[in-house]
Symmetry: D3
Subunit: 82 residues, 6 copies
């Protein structure tokens, strides 16, 4: 009876989307449930998967929020190109 | 100083409600705090309870989202009746 | 299909115990499952409860670890008695 | 590669704010990342911080929700003044 | 930069094992990281996976601990055979 | 009444230590509690901090366990030196 929690930033990762799409959520849930069955024999009926979408300004990495982190990455990439 | 996290799907479970009601939240908080006092002697003043309501399409079981899982259960029940 | 996580410090709360006893764990699991059924109609078969026991030096409150916090409380209580 | 989760009630703690402000979130993320570097040598680039704001009626302490808990504290304080 | 937490009961699921094996852990970590890349384009370098193994007596389902739940299932299965 | 959970790999980060030391735990607890007071005015008495040490083979990044990830990093660094 596994419990899996997936946390991702709330943002679109396919064209036109501003958040995780229903199709992506379904694919994550199916993929994780299948994985636990294949690797450990856990029946999907007893696997719970909970997806949390976290606002980007609530997620930090590198000591800054995700939007600021990405901005820094873009500036570093542009700096290298000059 | 226990910490308890309760995760439920965001949906109504009483007539007319589309989510957990304030009364239900109060009952969960009181019930869990009382339980920890009765079973382990933990004073309610130092017990934290956090309730998370999770969108149904973000919760998976049986390899599918909760709405799809319930649909499968309904169809299986109807199939048996035929 | 609720998921409940209960975190308590790893310590005995009944005579002779140095940790949560099997009986206490059973009582917590039954109590929480019953509560979710009574308050929200959730069938116990689909309620998961996970108990985490946390070493006391890994739990902080008041800016210090639990053992130090308790020591401060004892000293404050003794101070009042003088 | 530490992972830190900070849960606070969703409410303003500075004048005019009804929730944690962007500046506060940035300060929490920077502060926690710096702390893990100073105490344990963890590079901020590999530290994730996730801030969860929890509705006050979903947070319990003392066996009641936070709004009710605060109300009790106010009444107790007023009682002492009389 | 996803964060995934997988909780399973601490028990062997392959012959001779009393817990999740190192190979199973590696397969879970690789499988989840690949899934997040395929479904959402998340680079594995920024995906954290944390596996928690939970003692069976600390995991509840059906209002009882896992060992007791399995015992009930066995007895129900034997009852059907009679 | 904030709740903070800090997860780190179980390993020594100072000479002679094979895990987070008691001094490091105390510094993390104090530092986080002070931070929440400074940034948000939260009194330390109502801030809980829980530190989880996770076995390195239970923590994944880059699609592999932490020990394997570090080995890859070492080999990449050595490759650059040649």
């Amino acid at each position: 009876m596994p419990y899996v929690n997936i946390k991702v930033t709330r943002e679109g990762t396919v064209p036109g989307a501003a958040a995780t799409t229903p199709e992506q959520k379904m694919a994550l849930i199916k993929g994780v449930s299948d994985l636990l069955f294949e690797v450990m024999g856990k029946p999907p009926q007893s696997t719970f998967v909970v997806i949390d979408e976290v606002d980007m300004e609530n997620w930090g990495v590198g000591g800054v929020t995700v939007p600021e982190y990405r901005q820094q990455e873009r500036e570093a990439a542009e700096g290298k190109l000059k």
